[in-house]
Symmetry: C2
Subunit: 358 residues, 2 copies
């Protein structure tokens, strides 16, 4: 698709950067979560997210929503990438995505078009993403809450799905239903069906449309966020909502609190080589491989190793005769796991945490 | 066998500690070779070697033969283990074992009985070793060069073999021949034959008998070592042979230079749970294993891992769902290799060296 020109009006990116996952341990740590890591090239996922919407004829300067402990480092990363956020909203507490987005919608206000994006995803085909945004803008302007649905290329049980219904305009469909993470049999039937997309947590909507839906379907979130913004402190482009008020917001993901319940919800299916890099396996799949199928980053020597993901920060890794492993060294820690078992890393980190480590 | 009392006279242990192997990289490094490592318990192999002959009713204080760079650390280790060497001979250059032993024989002199031992081997059944020494003493006193032959329990292609001939006294045989490292077919035939032992480089002989044999079969070694000792500097229990003279000694192993050529060579076959710990695989075999077959040393957490050797100094290792690997972290380096391919570590280290690393 060729874009014929800038959309009718600009879009304000809202970058969510509050997360602190454990699935990429030991590279990701609480003080350096996944979005802060350069997992796919020289820049962090956060910086790549900001660059994705850097065209100022189409996008406003982004609004960053982040946590207390990460705010400074996140801004530093964006500025190093040449992006100065228009506003940095610092969540007093982590309350999941629905309250976080409500803060942004209230702070920006009016009928501004908000493009809500997690900061720790990879989108390899940004042109496809921009095209999808262009399709979504007219529908969002009409008050719909639009989600971008990822075209699935495998029967994945780790994501929720979106079933699309009638086409509203070219490439934009009303959502028939959101589907929880399925078992493998259902996931395979979804792929065969062809009308299902993965729910990637990327949205476009008007601030006012979204806040109406929050007020209707999750009023405790709306009132807590509104009070927190009314009592917020603004200084030097940083907005600190009032902690006492915000703490009353129930911690809920926006999908469950709002999207699944609202009436006018649309989906734009898009095939943009997306990955949430939710495991070492996912990072391997998103990485460039050498002739032996190895994806190597850092000081490593491989002898007859194949199909391995090797990442090291500082340590010299020598791997001989191994196959299909993820080998990751960072800080004082070292992980070795078959790639196809890398979802078990969380279990290991939980055990470490229960022993008071890491 | 029950020992009936101390042997007729004491034996002087000569501990060879000049080596600097690469097979246990990254734990062993040039400045910290295998004998300096605590690979089988809290003490280094060197300290364990000294303790093996600590009974002063049977053994003199040991003589240590070592290299320039290791001398101080080696003495420190022995003293920490409560052993003060009677003499420390510092090789001016590394010239393999024949010149090293010649230095010791010349320095100790006379008809002293010398028990020559590498410092980087493990002997789990020391009683069997002491019994074998007792058998060897009367034969060595008669001028024979005695070697201790390890009873083989597998067809190993990594060692030389000793074929025994007629029995001289109970448990002591004349050597019929030394056999180079065989191929697997020959190694299997040796095991089936029953008359073959592994050559472990442990010897008992009189200083004068040995020096006569060196003078006859390797005169350049004898003359170089003799000149180096004549011009040596002795200070505070440390003997520094003259470098210029010693540098003329051909670098040869004692087996090839002397033992294979001499006439009166005997072997005492002994089954003493010996290992040269010549690879991570060998260390695994010599280590205690847990119920899952893992031998773990250091800060490691294993989830569904089995039959692995894991050793770490300082680093936290998390290994999930892996089988049969050697995983070793030391300094800034990290090795991952299937145990049964651990002989390939040398190849990797050579490659690193050719790149100017390590």
């Amino acid at each position: 698709m060729t874009r014929t020109g800038p959309p009718g009006r600009t879009v304000t990116p809202v970058i969510l950067s509050g997360g602190a996952g454990t699935r990429l341990w030991p590279l990701s740590r609480p003080d350096r979560p996944k979005q802060m890591l350069a997992l796919a090239g020289p820049e962090s996922l956060l910086a790549m997210t900001a660059r994705r919407v850097a065209d100022r004829t189409r996008f406003e300067t982004p609004v960053l929503v982040t946590g207390q402990s990460l705010a400074e480092a996140a801004v530093d990363q964006l500025e190093a990438a040449g992006v100065r956020p228009g506003l940095v909203i610092v969540e007093p507490q982590a309350r999941n995505t629905a309250p976080a987005i409500a803060l942004a919608a209230l702070a920006i206000g009016g009928d501004a078009l908000l493009l809500v994006m997690p900061s720790d995803h990879l989108i390899a085909d940004n042109e496809a993403f921009l095209d999808a945004i262009e399709l979504a803008v007219p529908i969002a302007e009409r008050g719909w809450l639009v989600t971008f649905g990822i075209t699935p290329h495998r029967a994945e049980i780790g994501y929720g799905y979106i079933l699309r219904g009638e086409e509203l305009t070219t490439g934009v469909h009303a959502v028939r239903s959101f589907v929880e993470k399925p078992d493998i049999v259902r996931a395979e039937s979804f792929i065969a069906d062809g009308r299902y997309s993965w729910n990637a947590g990327i949205f476009l909507f008007r601030a006012d449309s979204f806040l109406e839906a929050v007020a209707l379907h999750a009023p405790a979130i709306e009132s807590a966020a509104r009070a927190a913004i009314e009592q917020a402190r603004l200084e030097g482009g940083r907005l600190d909502p009032a902690a006492d008020d915000f703490s009353l917001a129930p911690a809920q993901p926006v999908d469950r609190a709002v999207m699944e319940r609202a009436d006018k919800v649309a989906v734009v299916p898009v095939d943009m080589r997306w990955s949430d890099i939710g495991s070492w396996q996912a990072l391997y799949e998103a990485s460039e491989k050498d002739a032996a199928g190895n994806a190597v980053e850092g000081d490593a020597m491989l002898l007859d190793a194949s199909n391995c993901l090797v990442r090291t920060e500082g340590h010299k890794i020598v791997a001989i005769g191994v196959e299909g492993l993820a080998i990751v060294a960072a800080g004082d820690a070292l992980l070795i796991v078959p790639r196809d078992q890398s979802q078990r890393v969380q279990e290991a980190v939980s055990r470490l945490a229960s022993r008071g480590e890491d």
